[in-house]
């Protein structure tokens, strides 16, 4: 009980001071009461866990938004996906006596945290979005991530909702001996690869022979089959197909749904597909699915927009595949533009910044509408060096290790040039950037604040 009180107290103080408390209350509460998660776990009927490398936060928010259409739900919205973040989500939702109104929790859980918390929570469904390379120094190597996921899954009796287009997810499905429901894009929409990209797990995890691809969506997601054994992309139960700005979702025997996409890009379509597949697995009605998509607001750093002196879009970058998707979105923006790229190397960012060299920054060199890049963050120099060797002219690279100074400089240069600004930042720069940009927006239009309909 003491743990809950202290946790709630810290939460309350931080909120009074206008701070966004996503981890600290849970961290302290867990130190005082290590059994806290188990206690909360015993007070909800079911937990839906969302894990994987990319898209966890968006998929979790989408799914929570759909479940919230039918019942109260506990969720850790802002990507705080370690044990302390999960504890904070429960602390936020519970009363001072620890009572919860919700029976259901939709939780984003970090891959390495899943085996740690799996026994404490009544996990009924686990969604794995994909397994890409991400923060190798934290997890060791990719095979280690798979082992951790498998370990976590095996501690539960959960039904798995897996991305069947990802051979590494398929491996989890085959090795877990749990009930598995696969989702994937419609077979006919796969394309041949456009340029050399990172592809993990190109070898069959069952027998070690090369995987053959008949087509790709992105990264290693595609129509794979092993040359040496019967490892093959499963026929997905839930299928998605991009049609204009919509995702056509189909499941055999049920009428297809035309779904709104809250953000552009194939990787966002995958997030919607994952969330809707999980919603179907939970038996949610289509009204809740549609309603949840409409009510959804993109979380911090998922193409979050700010109208300042120049239009600003804030993106999170954290690994090569995710970064490539962001770079794709940036170069397909037809406006004149300026970039601020911020790289930190704290634990949550990954202390090893070598992934910058696996991301396709060469794309920026071909973008004639890109005037200048400002490198910022603790590892600003590494970012500048990456751009230099990508072939980006050194004269158009500026260095400003201080984030706020870089944002200010970027906005004033963009405004002067009539250009749009994109800010690409790693995890620990995301909250400071988002906070500063929101404050700036509030300063610019104080009179508008009363009338704004949506506040993100």
């Amino acid at each position: 009980m003491l743990g809950i009180w202290i946790g709630k107290l810290i939460l309350w103080i931080l909120m009074l001071r206008g701070r966004d408390a996503t981890s600290l209350p849970g961290k302290v509460a867990l130190r005082i009461a290590p059994g806290l998660l188990r206690r909360f776990g015993g007070r909800v009927k079911r937990v839906i866990a969302v894990t994987g490398t990319n898209g966890k936060t968006t998929t979790t928010s989408l799914l929570a938004s759909m479940v919230a259409e039918t019942e109260p739900v506990v969720t850790n919205h802002k990507g705080a996906n370690l044990a302390q973040g999960i504890a904070t989500a429960f602390l936020r939702a519970c009363s001072w006596t620890g009572r919860l109104r919700a029976n259901t929790a939709v939780l984003e859980i970090d891959e390495a945290t899943l085996p740690v918390v799996a026994r404490d929570l009544p996990i009924g469904v686990i969604v794995v979005t994909n397994v890409f390379r991400d923060q190798l120094d934290r997890y060791g190597e990719l095979d280690g991530t798979l082992a951790k996921l498998l370990d976590g899954i095996r501690q539960t009796q959960a039904t798995l909702v897996l991305n069947g287009d990802d051979p590494l997810c398929r491996y989890l499905g085959l090795r877990s001996s749990r009930k598995v429901l696969y989702y994937g894009m419609r077979r006919e929409t796969a394309r041949s690869p456009r340029r050399e990209q990172m592809r993990d797990g190109q070898f069959c995890l069952m027998c070690g022979q090369p995987l053959r691809y008949d087509g790709f969506w992105y990264g290693q997601l595609g129509l794979y089959r092993c040359e040496g054994c019967d490892f093959v992309r499963p026929h997905p139960l839930y299928q998605g197909e991009l049609q204009g700005g919509f995702l056509r979702f189909s499941e055999e025997g049920l009428p297809a749904l035309m779904l709104d996409l809250p953000a552009a890009g194939l990787y966002n379509a995958y997030n919607v597909l994952a969330a809707v597949s999980a919603a179907r697995a939970l038996g949610l009605p289509s009204a809740a699915i549609h309603g949840g998509l409409r009510a959804y607001r993109p979380p911090e750093g998922r193409m979050q927009r700010f109208d300042l002196e120049a239009p600003v879009t804030l993106h999170l970058i954290k690994n090569p595949t995710g970064c490539d998707s962001v770079l794709d979105a940036v170069v397909s923006d037809a406006r004149a533009k300026l970039l601020v790229i911020g790289v930190n190397d704290l634990a949550a960012d990954g202390r090893d910044v070598s992934w910058l060299w696996d991301a396709d920054f060469e794309l920026l060199v071909e973008d004639a509408r890109l005037t200048c890049v400002i490198a910022t963050g603790l590892r600003a120099y590494d970012m500048a060096l990456r751009l230099k060797y990508a072939g980006f002219p050194e004269s158009r690279i500026r260095l400003e290790p201080d984030l706020i100074a870089a944002l200010k400089e970027g906005i004033s240069s963009s405004a002067a040039a009539g250009a749009a600004m994109h800010a690409l930042v790693t995890y620990t720069l995301l909250h400071p950037a988002a906070r500063w940009l929101s404050e700036r927006r509030d300063q610019l239009e104080p009179q508008g604040a009363l009338y704004r309909t949506s506040v993100s």
Binding site: R133, L136, D137, G140, E141, L142, D143, M198, R199, Q202, F203, L205, G208, P210, D345, R351, D352, V353, S354, W355, L356, W357, D358, L378, R379, A380, Y381, D382, A384, L385, R386, K388, Y389, A390, G391, E394, P401
Partner: protein, 255 residues
């Protein structure tokens, strides 16, 4: 200047691609192109057999244990050709997993031994309960000065050759000997990535000089404007390795 292109082979980039070795290739290529050389980078993927008589420099990167075992298996099939080219002076830049592959074997935590190429007198063992050696690293090399980067390996390596350098900060080959990497013939073996070459231009140029000499191309490399590289080294050390920062600060100040 001869118009013959320098040929760099990137062995199994589809298997050994754990730590952004693509960055090392980019640096080698750019630093030659900026000096007017023609460069030919050959990506030898899993379905192909390497032709060691064609290459002037071979890069072997890091992979997961599983992928490393596949590569070891493939390379043993053309071990004789590889060995004779190396004896003949073919430069090899081997990093992390690729470095371990050059030795006699790599022992997995399970006790299973993955045989290597035995190009050098070296063994690597990963103990089941020993921690991975992870973190920022700085090494002093007589040949190229301070080498900086990141290391992340479970294996402990011992060998009977010269080391690449002495550990100034971090773990190195085995965490206890104070030695990092290996130098033998024209082999450059190391655990340092990050990737290795962008922040270590002197090392990149030393490897390139070896390759140019082997290719009978002019190997007097004209200096490049490495100001940004030096600043990046100094900034990295100042932020993460205060003990070696003074060495790099003086270097960044030099013209």
């Amino acid at each position: 200047m001869s118009r013959k292109a320098l040929c760099i082979a990137h062995l199994y980039p589809d298997l050994l691609n754990l730590y952004a070795d693509r960055g090392n290739i980019t640096v080698l290529r750019r630093r030659l192109e900026w000096r007017g050389y023609d460069v030919d980078v050959v990506r030898v993927t899993h379905g192909e057999v390497p032709d060691f008589s064609r290459y002037h420099l071979v890069l072997l990167g890091g992979g997961s244990d599983r992928e490393q075992a596949i590569v070891a298996d493939k390379l043993r099939g053309c071990k004789a050709e590889f060995q004779s080219a190396v004896q003949d002076g073919l430069p090899v830049l081997a990093i992390c997993g690729g470095y371990q592959l050059l030795g006699e074997f790599y022992q997995l935590p399970s006790g299973e031994k993955v045989p290597g190429l035995a190009l050098v007198d070296m063994v690597t063992e990963a103990m089941p309960d020993a921690p991975r050696l992870i973190g920022n690293i700085a090494v002093w090399s007589e040949e190229v000065g301070v080498i900086v980067g990141f290391e992340n390996h479970g294996g402990r390596t011992r060998h009977g050759h010269r080391p690449l350098g002495r550990v100034l900060h971090g773990h190195g080959n085995d965490g206890v000997s104070g030695e990092e990497g290996l130098r033998h013939l024209r082999i450059w073996g190391t655990y340092v990535h990050g990737p290795l070459l962008p922040k270590n231009p002197a090392l990149a140029d030393a490897v390139l000089r070896d390759a140019l000499a082997y290719a009978h191309l002019p190997d007097e490399l004209e200096p490049l404007d490495d100001r940004l590289e030096r600043e990046a080294r100094a900034a990295f050390a100042a932020l993460r390795m205060a003990d070696v920062a003074p060495m790099l600060r003086s270097e960044a100040g030099s013209p």
